[in-house]
């Protein structure tokens, strides 16, 4: 069975149809890069998969491990294993990163009928993850993403990805705004996450991330549909020729 099945997906935002019959299948262990020009529907796909309010699915099927995601609330999808790394992570003063991470992990444990992690071992795990991503442990005490640089916010998304270890990671332009060093750290994090048990949807504008995270498939999204699919060489071709030749 596929890990993720998206079939004939149509979705609208504020009455305007953005996704117009999108199909994609992801098997466990696969990384699928989704590229495409601005306005093609890449972020809409990410938001629809994670259940963001305001995105109306008008037609189609979205299943994770055979379970219909569409009737489910965002937190219920997260419990099944959907994770969205935000293009613009939200700043939340007053709530510490550590409290946010603990609430996330505890909520997942509760949903699965598991015990909440021991606080001491939890803190140790988070600190080790932060250090491995070149994030100071001081960040854990500060408000969620509060005053973080763009690169720090993206590394914080990867920290959450590694901590929650989801079934499906949807990374929405996680490489945007990163310098080459930060890009390397983020890419290393994604590669650490990759396994035969999970899948990755890697939404990106640029080929350069794919030098570090080698995808199994590359899809081009244009006007709400996948218009071309291939292997990693397709990304190189896009880098060279742009998107116009696909129209």
């Amino acid at each position: 069975m596929s890990l993720l099945t998206v079939d004939s997906l149509h979705a609208s935002v504020q009455g305007e149809e953005i996704l117009k019959g999108l199909n994609i299948k992801i098997n466990p262990g696969e990384v699928h890069a989704i590229m495409g020009p601005n306005g093609s529907g890449k972020s809409t796909l990410a938001n629809v998969l994670s259940g963001r309010p305001g995105y109306a699915v008008t037609q189609g099927i979205v299943e994770l491990d055979g379970v219909d995601l569409l009737p489910l609330e965002p937190h219920e999808r997260a419990h099944l294993g959907v994770f969205l790394a935000f293009q613009y992570p939200v700043e939340i003063p007053g709530v510490s990163n550590m409290e946010f991470l603990k609430a996330s992990v505890d909520s997942r444990a509760h949903a699965h009928g598991a015990e909440q992690p021991n606080p001491a071992s939890f803190i140790k795990e988070v600190r080790e993850l932060a250090t491995s991503l070149n994030l100071s442990t001081e960040f854990l005490k500060r408000g969620v993403n509060e005053g973080f640089s763009g690169g720090e916010k993206k590394r914080n998304e990867i920290l959450q990805l590694l901590l929650l270890n989801p079934r499906l990671a949807v990374l929405d332009e996680t490489d945007s705004g990163l310098d080459i060093d930060a890009l390397q750290v983020v890419a290393d994090g994604i590669n650490r996450f990759r396994s035969d048990d999970n899948g990755v949807v890697l939404i990106t504008h640029y080929q350069r991330l794919l030098n570090y995270v080698v995808p199994d498939f590359v899809h081009v999204l244009a006007d709400g549909k996948i218009v071309q699919s291939g292997d990693k060489s397709l990304a190189l071709e896009l880098e060279e020729k742009g998107y116009a030749w696909l129209a």
């Binding site: 963001r52 007053g94 996330s104």
Partner: protein, 366 residues
């Protein structure tokens, strides 16, 4: 105010510098009516006629502290304020005034606890004195608490005030007069009450004086909180920073009027006021009005007031991590409230405010 018979007030000789006519005029101005728009003045006036007792105090046994029940007649001018004639009336009606004179920097804080209506308190800090004041308004009956603070040149005071008793009506009046280079920091942590009225007047009366306010309030049920703030910059290069985060839940009512007045002789003053309000539910009422009166050109002055509900993108960020929407609301509301909780009493205040908020959001409140 019209129902108060000022002629009946026996003004002590040492306070008798203001005529009844002046009081009557002050209490009938449009500005005064505006200040009492959201709280019925008569409710407070009824309170000021009640009996008062000495507050419970500790920290007076230190070197450099002396107390008395009379004050220098020269301080009478401090007690009179055109903007708050009712406070002056209350001072006149009280049989005594508790006067705390601080002549040396203090090693330990002064703790002032109000278990009932208390006599007016005047605290005076001498020049270069550093002190800490902890004030607990815990009267479980209707009560008034009046406090005047006079700060000498280059003195500093960190004042933490907590008001967590909800089952009564409280009027809290506070006026701080700051001289040159003094620094006053107020941490105001409060719950609403049947009626809670907080009047705060700060006069930056000497060059380089600084005032900082951080305030966090949670008001639930049918409770009421009315904060009236007036900061006057009357000297050059004075600075004020005011941050107030208020949450109104259920059918509560919250008002915050923040007035900044920069006088003509106060160039290069720098004032900022931010009042953010979170309305939880559809039946809460929030009134907020920042007011600026600026009579000199060379100043920096800014204000902002917002009323809203929790941001959708913040809730989605939480739910996308598996946190259920009701828990997300609890954590985000708590974060909003505790953002402004600071000072020496931070831990206790954080716990008290969080507990009240969680009880309300989880339905545990009565």
């Amino acid at each position: 105010m019209a129902s108060v018979n000022l002629a009946d007030i026996a003004i002590p000789a040492w306070l008798n510098r203001v005529t009844h006519d002046q009081l009557n005029i002050a209490s009938q101005t449009p500005a005064h009516a505006e200040r009492w728009k959201y709280t019925k003045a008569q409710k407070v006036l009824d309170l000021i006629e009640g009996a008062t007792e000495q507050p419970s105090i500790s920290g007076l046994e230190q070197n450099g502290v002396s107390i008395g029940t009379t004050i220098d007649p020269d301080l009478a001018a401090l007690l009179y304020d055109d903007n708050a004639p009712e406070a002056y009336i209350a001072a006149c009606l009280a049989n005594e005034v508790l006067y705390i004179d601080i002549q040396e920097s203090l090693a330990s804080p002064i703790n002032l606890s109000h278990g009932t209506s208390t006599v007016p308190v005047v605290i005076r800090l001498a020049a270069n004195v550093a002190a800490e004041l902890f004030e607990d308004c815990q009267a479980n009956e209707d009560a008034i608490h009046l406090l005047w603070i006079q700060m000498g040149p280059a003195s500093s005071l960190v004042h933490s005030r907590q008001s967590f008793e909800t089952a009564a009506s409280h009027w809290q009046f506070l006026h701080t007069l700051q001289e040159r280079m003094s620094t006053y920091t107020l941490h105001n942590h409060t719950l609403g009450a049947h009626l809670r009225r907080q009047d705060l007047h700060v006069t930056l009366n000497g060059e380089g004086a600084k005032f900082e306010l951080k305030s966090a309030a949670f008001v639930r049920s049918k409770d009421h909180l009315d904060q009236q703030l007036t900061v006057q910059h009357t000297a050059p290069r004075t600075t004020s920073r005011q941050l107030l985060n208020n949450i109104a839940a259920d059918k509560a009512s919250v008002t915050c009027n923040g007035r900044i007045h920069i006088h003509p002789n106060a160039p290069q003053s720098d004032a900022d006021l931010s009042n953010r309000n979170l309305a939880l539910g559809k039946s809460a009422t929030v009134n907020t009005k920042p007011e600026l009166e600026i009579y000199t050109d060379d100043v920096k002055c800014s204000h902002g007031a917002t009323v809203g509900q929790l941001a959708d993108d913040a809730i989605f960020y939480f739910t996308s991590r598996g946190i259920a929407p009701d828990l997300a609301q609890q954590i985000l509301s708590k974060g909003f409230l505790l953002e402004n909780v600071a000072g020496p009493n931070k831990d206790y205040a954080s716990h008290a405010l969080s507990q009240a908020l969680m009880d309300s959001l989880t339905g545990a409140a009565s």
